[in-house]
Symmetry: C3
Subunit: 357 residues, 3 copies
């Protein structure tokens, strides 16, 4: 019995996940599980634990071998040490919604997973395990080297790190592919793997990284996600930069009795990030979709440009997608940022953005 | 007892809102309400009536004071007088779907809210209360001055006007922020407030305005929305310009037994706007998402460019988003415009566009 | 009794369509049908059979007459002969998911519809009936001439071909418009119609074509769809080009007990297209939404540019929309492509992309 199964289910009746969410489906170890209830989540976990390491593959492309990419001349290998670990996570640590002034119904803690930044050789934590994982930054021409350790032994499941935007060989894809899985796609509990990714000119942007192991639907939502930001060589970063992950936390994942619509796995203003900037600063909101819903990101009092140059103040963010709202701050005061899908906003997907003169 | 509560509920069984819609959630006055049935809607209304005027705020940014912006040199203050009022609204005044030739099942009237244009000083109506509210137009360098009166006394709830795209100080945000609310975010029944918004170069475009008071999920859907169109200084407007708001009307909002997928709060061709243009005209469809769904706007026989210059004839419109389909008319005849989400189109989100040679 | 009604329903209980899908609504012959069960699908079919040929129309624009467009100087009339026919279609012909290594639960065959390419005069098939229909290609200045025959006599319903992107007069719209329908919008069983469409400069791109007859929600999903690709005059096509249609197959359409999330009407890797390319090739994925859901298309190991030039590797595709992911292939190996909506990916919307060095 491990911590993830020992987690006592609350006795209160479960709200239908349908409150704002479709049923989740997982296919794990050859079984399909419809995730409707916390018991379904436990079953998915049990199946994921039984997934064997991958077998030999079948197509000529599966026999290709690949080197490890090196930085371009003038580039750097940016090394990160990340361990995946379980942690008890509070969706609403203040216990209230600071916008509407109401208490958030208990319980609101669950067994989550996080990518925790470590010092070299996994000697000790750089900081506490938190969600999202650390933002990994690099420039074009660099490589990003992620030493990854699956420390979530009580979960008993293989985990990975799958990046968007950068270039990687199949070895460093970080995706479980069944019988075709390469080493980086199945990092068993207690094991380590080093990923090396290349930052191409067309990698410029902000991207998510997340688990893509055998139980990635659940484990990504549990908190195994973070941001990659790749800049042109020598470009000045924004003065302030906010990675925001929009995603529901559903009962099958959290074993909590209700669904929360979260930003960075936190729900309701005061729990979601309270962001701060000053007039005159170069500000970037990097917003990612990290669940199975489509969201629409809005900031009061501000507007930005889409990739084609149109003026917008509200932008669709689908699952796995990234948008960046970047502008020079010119408007002091207290502002709401929120998902413009009413049902999401009202279930917690909102926060404060405070701008000083 | 007021008109909004006195509205007799139809006796027929209610179709599940789920027909094409997720449950709506509201958080009002510290209580969370899941909107599944008309009774839930009544409860949300009762809670919204009890919301007190906001308290003193807590952060230094909340103590900032702001002036009222003035037009840029050469710009104009564009004044509008709008009152919010209740009205009995027919979702399908012809009683039929002119595309498929069937009767729209009764009942299809409900107690709606509209922004009604008034003459200076709220002396008298400029025109009838209708949905959407009037299109507010301005040029870069102008201010838009909206004198707003909450005339919907029987509703008994604070209302506001929250704009997209323009620049506003926190005083003119028009958003209820709980204890942090500024004056323009809580216009009590019978009260007035004047908003002043700036039209920046990056405000160019078409945008929605809508209620963002304590019960904005329900009251926006009831009809408190309209369009803002900001043009570059001196730019010629299109010859014809159509603001179209895509949004479901759900039973908790309308107290009607079924959900309608509407354009401008009307459902089914012949009730939704029948639009007309001539070959050779410069035509703009401004399309806004005004509910919690994602839509896909399609016009038969026509195509336009997205902001990046790609050729399209179908475009995603999320909640609070705007798109503009602009083209020189070259194709006479009767055309359908509709949401390409089949379930929305078939529940009423379609209309006629008639082009004369 | 015809083949489409004779199709025996499986006895096993039906999973709720809600697993990943909203209820579908159809309006056919003046009746609205909510499609929840296979029986509902049968009822929709019966109603569609009873739809009469359209009556005379009412507005001056309905009396306009139109010629048949000719190619521009230097252009060509590209002729295609397509017949719509029923076929028994296997959603998962291998019987397994080659990604997760599990068996796909039976049954997984259903009565589908396809646009089958024929030789001139419908003399004989060019190839087998398959889904999607053939990709119709042309250049700017050409016309596309589609000789269409409704050979699906056992279905007993009028069918059409409705294109996106190209220019067509109302005669060639291919849309059933009730009393306003023109000839091409109602091709009765056993009948033929020739559509002629113009390829304008602003038609450049990849587009879907699909049924838009009286029962188009069901019949498009049954398989009546294909791709149009219009290129600038003389432009070299990509070396490899993949049309991929993302769409759920729901129980009311298939009369199967569960919903499948499909690519080209096939579910799960090994059944969905296994795509192949070589390093150095100019590759284009043309991705279309063909149901009522929003999807997010992701290819592992690759990235492309959106229309505004931003780097992306994941892109929203709504119903009726098209996106093209085009890049020079530089990354050998086995890659997943999939919808990043977890519930869709896990219900079959994923496939292999194999790149040889």
């Amino acid at each position: 019995m491990d911590a993830f199964d020992d987690h006592t289910l609350p006795r209160r009746g479960f709200l239908q996940a349908g409150a704002a969410g479709a049923v989740l489906l997982c296919t794990i170890g050859g079984k399909r599980v419809a995730l409707r209830t916390p018991e379904d989540g436990k079953r998915a976990d049990a199946l994921a634990r039984a997934v064997a390491a991958p077998q030999a593959a079948k197509d000529p492309v599966d026999k290709l071998t690949f080197g490890t990419p090196q930085p371009q001349p003038g580039g750097t290998a940016r090394e990160y040490w990340l361990q995946a670990r379980g942690l008890r996570w509070d969706v609403a640590p203040t216990g209230r919604d600071d916008w509407h002034g109401h208490a958030v119904p208990r319980p609101h803690k669950f067994l989550a997973l996080a990518y925790q930044p470590m010092t070299a050789g996994f000697a000790k934590p750089v900081g506490p395990a938190t969600i999202p994982g650390p933002t990994l930054t690099a420039e074009v021409g660099d490589t990003i080297v992620v030493h990854f350790r699956n420390e979530a032994e009580s979960l008993g499941q293989a985990l990975t790190v799958h990046p968007h935007g950068v270039r990687y060989t199949p070895d460093y894809d970080g995706a479980y592919l069944g019988d075709y899985t390469r080493a980086g796609g199945f990092v068993a509990p207690g094991e380590e793997f080093t990923y090396t990714w290349e930052c191409l000119p067309e990698s410029v942007g902000a991207w998510p990284y997340h688990d893509h192991g055998p139980n990635h639907t659940m484990n990504s939502m549990r908190g195994l996600y973070g941001a990659l930001v790749i800049r042109p060589k020598g470009e000045k970063p924004p003065d302030v930069e906010f990675p925001l992950f929009l995603g529901a936390l559903a009962p099958p994942v959290t074993r909590l009795p209700r669904q929360f619509q979260c930003i960075n796995s936190r729900a309701y203003a005061g729990n979601t990030p309270t962001l701060r900037a000053n007039v005159g600063q170069d500000v970037a909101f990097h917003v990612f979709g990290v669940d199975g819903f489509f969201h629409d990101f809005h900031i009061h009092g501000h507007r930005w440009k889409d990739s084609g140059g149109a003026n917008i103040d509200n932008q669709t963010v689908g699952p796995g997608e990234s948008i960046s709202a970047r502008f020079t701050e010119d408007n002091p005061g207290r502002w709401l940022y929120h998902c413009h899908v009413f049902a999401h906003q009202d279930a917690g997907m909102a926060g404060w953005y405070l701008v000083s003169p």
